[in-house]
């Protein structure tokens, strides 16, 4: 078991998402920054779909009860194993009784912890991703325990990965959304010629942007939305839906983030700047 001694600000268990129920209104959920999560699962030679911890801004304190191997990726969160610093994207051997904790957030926003073989919590509707409507709660709490298989004999083929970090990137590559063509020249200029800052309202459901552009007044018949869909409200606010975002919406979908851009955005926090670039 992995014992969550302290859960941190918002630590959740996520895999690559819950599929097959989008037409019943169930969001995909899954790792916000799936690129970083996949990298550390690769490093541990895990299937890319196994569940990892997603740690947001302030990390947890974790006690390992059995020996295994772990890897950390995504945000730089000053991780230490028994008070000794450990690096991102390296295979870390842990023994029973070891304590992993996190410190100052140096860069990025979401840090991932993968474990050899993945966490073995029950699947709910085909996924281990926590999402309140499906799994009752969306984050882990103090004292909770997560099962994993002990892997004392794992011989990693590679011990570290060189990863091109996108934590400093500001550009979000986008394609045209379904309602892109209803944007005026003025709206397009506002969308592409300046940076936007991340509003305080940002979470796993959606990121709102602080600066407004000219809104779209015309109403639209409810239709599907996806993670990475940029909605423009009548008041001119831009809302970027993320992994826990609703599956349908009635606001014009002006842009659609690339998969990579969703990961780039997932590493942004309140006040950070981003800009859109049409791909």
């Amino acid at each position: 078991m992995l014992k969550i001694l302290k859960s941190g600000l918002f630590t959740t268990l996520q895999d690559m998402g819950r599929y097959g129920f989008l037409d019943k209104g169930v969001p995909v959920a899954g790792c916000m920054d799936s690129f970083s999560a996949k990298k550390i699962n690769q490093l541990l030679e895990n299937d890319s779909a196994v569940a990892v911890l997603e740690i947001t801004m302030t990390g947890p304190t974790l006690l390992f009860e059995e020996a295994t191997y772990v890897a950390i990726g995504g945000a730089l969160l000053s991780a230490t194993l028994n008070n000794e610093p450990v690096a991102n994207y390296e295979v870390i051997k842990v023994s029973g009784g070891d304590i992993l904790s996190f410190g100052k957030l140096e860069k990025g926003f979401r840090c991932y912890l993968a474990i050899k073989g993945g966490f073995k919590t029950p699947l709910v509707l085909g996924s281990r991703s926590l999402f309140s409507s499906v799994t009752k709660k969306n984050h882990l709490v103090d004292g909770e325990e997560l099962p994993y298989g002990a892997s004392p004999d794992f011989k990693p083929k590679i011990s570290k990965l060189k990863v091109d970090s996108f934590l400093d990137e500001q550009v979000l590559t986008v394609s045209k959304g379904p309602e892109y063509d209803s944007l005026s020249d003025k709206q397009l200029e506002m969308l592409f010629y300046k940076a936007f800052s991340i509003a305080n309202e940002n979470n796993r459901m959606a990121y709102q942007l602080e600066e407004k552009i000219i809104g779209i007044k015309t109403s639209m018949i409810t239709s599907a939305t996806l993670p990475g869909t940029v909605q423009l409200t009548p008041s001119g606010k831009l809302i970027i839906l993320m992994k826990d975002g609703q599956t349908t919406g009635g606001y014009p979908r002006v842009l659609q983030l690339s998969d990579r851009a969703i990961s780039v955005l997932a590493q942004k926090k309140y006040g950070d700047e981003v800009r859109f670039q049409l791909n």
């Binding site: 599929y19 097959g20 129920f21 989008l22 037409d23 019943k24 209104g25 169930v26 969001p27 709910v124 509707l125 409507s133 499906v134 799994t135 394609s175 045209k176 959304g177 379904p178 018949i221 409810t222 239709s223 599907a224 996806l226 990475g228 869909t229 609703q246 599956t247 349908t248 919406g249 979908r253 659609q256 983030l257 690339s258 998969d259």
Partner: protein, 245 residues
């Protein structure tokens, strides 16, 4: 079945949006559902495809590599224009109990005053119409029900409530629906349905599908409480009527 002029557009690199004429119309919904059934059975059989119909559109999402849009658009056009022969999924009319007591129907008095109808008239109108499920979204298991009589069309509340309780039955514009869980919401609440619309413990967590029909019937507080308990212990039997294709 009559063929419509449909638009096919990319929606990011992994999804395609197909749109029928922009109106809320049961014939359009039927055409969409028949085509999506054909796609599922004959063209896009892989479970890597997610298919989300809603009102006048359907979105096809592929979980693997990006879609080659131009090729795929041609294929979709051809598939749509083929003489589709599929057995439609059995459509169902679900009969759902609603308790319209004022404890639940917290906006009944206000909308009765606004419309000049009595609460009894509102309840009788709401229960006498059969509604069509045009979409499921906003929350898991939240059904957008169309077919509301014009006299029951009320604008959303100017200020959404921070908390609407699970089971609340609401009216908003041309739609009625049930909140499957506690949530913020701006609909006018007229009653409460004791049957859970979303249950993640079931293999099929939401018994209703787009294209199904729903009719409400009024129950007393005592019947409501009974159905609530029956649902909680898993012995509530859903009332359904199978519809002819």
């Amino acid at each position: 079945m009559k063929k419509y002029s449909i638009s096919i557009r990319p929606f990011g690199k992994h999804a395609i949006l197909l749109e029928w004429p922009s109106r809320v119309d049961r014939d359009i919904l039927e055409d969409i559902l028949q085509f999506t059934q054909y796609l599922r059975e004959c063209c896009l059989k892989s479970d890597r495809w997610e298919i989300v119909p809603a009102y006048n559109s359907v979105t096809l999402i592929y979980r693997e590599e990006p879609i080659e849009f131009d090729d795929f658009k041609e294929k979709l056009k051809n598939w749509y224009n083929e003489d589709i022969k599929v057995v439609n999924r059995q459509r169902v009319l679900w009969r759902l109990p609603v308790c319209y007591d004022l404890d639940f129907g917290i906006d009944l008095i206000e909308i009765a005053e606004r419309s000049g109808m009595s609460i009894g008239e509102i309840v009788s109108l709401h229960t006498s119409h059969v509604y069509t499920v045009f979409g499921i979204g906003f929350l898991p298991g939240f059904t957008y029900l169309g077919g509301l009589p014009e006299i029951l069309e009320f604008d959303r509340r100017p200020q959404p409530r921070p908390k609407v309780v699970a089971g609340s039955v609401g009216l908003a514009g041309k739609q009625t629906g049930i909140y499957p869980q506690e949530s913020p919401g701006g609909w006018n609440i007229i009653g409460n349905c004791p049957v859970p619309m979303f249950n993640p413990k079931e293999e099929e967590p939401c018994f209703v599908s787009v294209g199904d029909q729903v009719q409400f019937y009024s129950v007393s507080r005592a019947e409501y409480d009974l159905h609530k308990i029956e649902s909680e212990v898993g012995i509530y039997k859903l009332e359904k009527i199978l519809l002819d294709a």
